[in-house]
Amino acid sequence: MSAISYKQQWFGNPVRDIVAGAVVALALIPEAIAFSIIAGVDPKVGIYASFCIAVVIAFVGARPGMISAATGAMALLMVTLVKEHGLEYLLAATVLTGVIQIIAGIFKLGDFMKFVSRSVVTGFVNALAILIFMAQLPEFHGQGLMMYGMVAAGLGIIYGLPRITKSVPSPLVCIIVLTGLSMFMGWGAGDNPLLRTVGSMGTLPSTLPMFLIPDIPLNWETLMIILPYSLPLAVVGILESLMTATIVDDFTDTSSDKSRECIGQGVANTVSGFFGGMAGCAMIGQSVINVKSGGRGRLSTFCAGIFLLILCVALGQWAAQIPMAALVAVMFMVSIGTFSWSSFKNIRLYNRSSSVVMIVTVLTTVFTHNLAAGVGAGVILSALFFVFKISQLLHIDSTLDESGEERTYRIRGQLFFVSAGSFGDAFDFREVLTKVRIDVSHAHFWDITAISALDRVVLKFRREGAEVEIVGLNEASKTLVLRLATHDKPGAMDEMEGH
C-alpha cells in the first residue's frame, strides 16, 4: 500500500470521519464500561483498552472505517481468569493474545476463516447477542421496580428519539437524561442507593493510561495459566475482526488484506496489555454505526478512541454518577441490534442442516459461555453435514446384455469412507453371471476405503465364478493420486484440475 493511499485513508473524508468518531465514542463509553463489568474488572480497564486498541488500529489496521475496542465477546472469556487470578494475569493474557494474533497474521492463518460457514457466523452473532443480554440480567438483582422503570424509560428514549430527530445520538441523550434525573432526585446517592451507579462498580480513569509491565512471575507456570485463556481470546478476536472486516468491505465496496488486519489486531492488543487495558477486537455494531454516521477512514477510528478517553477523563466525576439502568438500556439496544432476527424469520426457508448448525452454535456458546467452543462445534458439524450430503452423490445402475450372462455395472459419483458402506448393497450377488464389467470411469475414489470397497465387490463376484473386468480405474483413482501418489502418471496432476 503506497504512502499516497495511506494518506488518503487518513484524510480522504475528514469532517465526516471526525463527526462519526464522536458519535461512535459516545456509543462506546457505555459499552466499554459495561464490558468491563462483565469481565469483572474496573471500568477504567475497559476504557483504557478501548482507547489503546482504537488508536493503535487506526494506524496499523488494514480495514479503514472499522471500529475495534473492548468487546463483549472477549470480555466473556475473561471472567474466570479475573476471578481466579486477578487483573495482572489478565493484562499478561492480553499481551499473549496480541502475540498469538501477530503470529497468526504472519502465517496467514486468517485464511482458515473460509472453513467457518455462514450459518456458524450467524450462530456466533446470535449467541453473542444473547450472552450480552444475559449479562445484563444480574444488574436487576436486589433492585426494585425503579430499575425496571428506568430501563424502560431509557429504551424508550433510545428507540423513540430517532423518530423525532436523527442528528443527535439517542444513546447519549438517554444517558444524559437518566443521569440528570438520578442526580436531581438523589436516587444514586448514599451507601444503599435506590439506583446503583457506575461509580459503585469500580474506578473510572482519572489520568491518561500509563505504561506498566504486568506484575507476574515470568515462568512456565504463568504461561500455563494464561495460555488456555489467550488462545480462545486470539481465535475469537480474529474471527470477529475478520467477520466485521468483511461486513465493512461490503459497505464501502472496497477490499482489505485480512492477514494484515490480524497483525494489526495483535499489535493493538499487545499495546493495550502494556497500558492497563483488556483484550478487544473489532465490533460489528460500532462499525455499522460508524459507517452509518458517515465514517470511512482511519481518522474515524482514531477520533473514536481519542474522544472516548477525553470524555471519560474529563467527565470522570459525572460518569461515576451514571445509573447502571442507563447502561443496561444501552446494552439491551446493542443486544437487540446485534441479533440477526432474519435468521429466525427465515429458518423455514433455509435447509435444515444450515439451521441446525446455527442453533447448535448458539446453544453451545450460551451453555459454555465460550464463543470459541461454539464456533468449533459449528465448524465440525457443518463439515460433517457437508460430508454426508456428498456421500449421497453416488449412483449405480446396470444393464444386462442379450445373452443374459454378462452384466455391466456403471458407477457414477463420489466414493469415500461414508458412501463405501452402502456401495456393496448396490450389486446383486445372487445373480448367476459369467462376466461382470464394472465401469468406474465416471466415479471418483477419494480414499483407501473406497478402493477396498471395490476390491471386496470384485472378490465376491470372482468367488461366485464370474469373471470381473474393471473399466476406467485410472480415471477414477486420479483423485487418489493427490494423497497416495503411488500411481503417479505424468500428466495426472494436470488432468486433476478438470475435476
Binding site: R16, V23, Y159, L161, K166, S170, D250, V288
Partner: protein, 284 residues
C-alpha cells in the same frame, strides 16, 4: 502505431486537452484512447445518520440504503460520462484523427493507470479538472499521482492550446532530464520548434558536459538549439524565461528531488506547473 492515452473528466480543461492530444497525434501519427473514469469515491461518505442507535436488522438496512444511493449516483455518472466521451469523439474527429477509442471505466485514475498506461506511449492530462476554482491556485488532485506513476512522458495541458514554436527544456543533467532530451531528439513531436536548453544554478563539470552532449544530440536531430546556464533558483530562472521569451511548451524531468524536500519546501515541478500558464511535457 503509437498510442496516446487521454484522461478526461469533461471539465473546463477538456477542450484544451483534446486540442493538445490532436496536435500530438498528428505529429506522432498516433491513435488516441480517450479514458473517462467514473470514480465512486469510496473513501468519502455521501450521507450520514447520526442517531448512533442500532435498530433491528440495521446491518442489512444500511447495506440496502448504501447500494441504492450508489446505484443512483452511478447511473447519473454513466450518462454524464457518455456525453463527455461523445464530445471527445466529435472534437477529435473534427481535428482529423482517424483512430479514436473512447470509453469509460469504474475506478479512480491513480489506481487505473497501471492497467492503461503500459499500452500508451504518451499520456495527456489537464493541469486541473473538475475541482478547479477560478483563481487557479491549486493543481488538479490527480496530477501528482499520475506523473509520479507514469513511466511514459506526460503532457500536461494548459487552459488554452497554442501552436508550439518555442520550447524550453529545463536541464539539470539528471536521468529524467536526459530522458527528456532523448525523447525530443528521437520523436517527431517537436520538429520545427526552436529549443532553449536552460540550466539554472551553479556551474559544475557534470552540468557543462551534460549540456554539451544534450545540445549535440538535439542539433544532430535537426533542431535549432540555444543553450544557457543562468545562476539562480530554477523556479525563478525558468519562470522568468518563460514569460520573457514567450515559451509555448516546457519540457522537464518531474519530481526529481527527494520526497522530504517535497513535503517541507514544496515541489519544484508543482510550483513551475502552477506559475507558468503553458503546457508541460514531463519525464520521470
Amino acid at each position: 502505431m503509437p498510442n496516446i492515452l487521454v484522461c478526461t473528466d469533461g471539465s473546463a480543461y477538456a477542450p484544451s486537452i483534446y486540442d493538445h492530444a490532436a496536435w500530438a497525434a498528428q505529429r506522432l501519427d498516433a491513435s488516441i484512447h480517450v479514458l473517462h473514469l467514473v470514480d465512486p469515491h469510496h473513501e468519502t461518505a455521501s450521507g450520514a445518520d447520526l442517531s448512533g442507535a442500532l435498530g433491528i436488522e440495521s446491518q442489512s438496512a444500511l447495506m440496502e440504503e448504501l447500494v441504492q444511493l450508489e446505484a443512483t449516483k452511478a447511473k447519473l455518472a454513466h450518462t454524464k460520462g457518455r456525453a463527455i466521451l461523445q464530445v471527445a469523439r466529435d472534437t477529435l474527429a473534427q481535428a482529423g484523427i482517424a483512430k479514436v477509442v473512447a470509453d469509460q471505466k469504474h475506478g479512480s485514475l491513480s489506481d487505473s493507470l497501471e492497467t492503461y498506461e503500459p499500452e500508451a506511449d504518451l499520456v495527456v492530462i489537464g493541469k486541473r479538472g473538475e475541482n478547479t476554482s477560478l483563481d487557479f491556485k491549486h493543481l488538479g488532485s490527480n496530477l501528482e499521482r499520475v506523473v509520479r506513476t507514469c513511466h511514459h512522458p506526460v503532457l500536461v495541458a494548459s487552459r488554452i492550446f497554442k501552436p508550439v514554436r518555442r520550447v524550453l527544456l529545463a536541464y539539470d543533467a539528471g536521468p529524467s532530464a536526459n530522458r527528456a532530451v532523448d525523447y525530443v531528439a528521437s520523436q517527431p513531436l517537436l520538429t520545427g520548434a526552436s529549443i532553449h536548453l536552460l540550466s539554472a544554478g551553479s556551474e559544475s563539470t557534470r552540468l557543462t558536459e551534460g549540456t554539451a552532449a544534450a545540445k549535440q544530440k538535439l542539433v544532430d536531430a535537426g533542431f535549432e538549439v540555444k543553450s544557457e546556464l543562468r545562476p539562480g533558483h530554477p523556479i525563478d530562472v525558468i519562470g522568468e524565461t518563460v514569460k520573457k521569451d514567450g515559451i509555448d511548451l516546457l519540457v522537464m524531468g518531474a519530481y526529481g528531488h527527494m520526497h522530504i524536500r517535497h513535503l517541507l519546501i514544496g515541489s519544484t515541478t508543482a510550483t513551475l506547473l502552477r506559475t507558468c500558464a503553458i503546457p508541460a511535457l514531463l519525464f520521470r
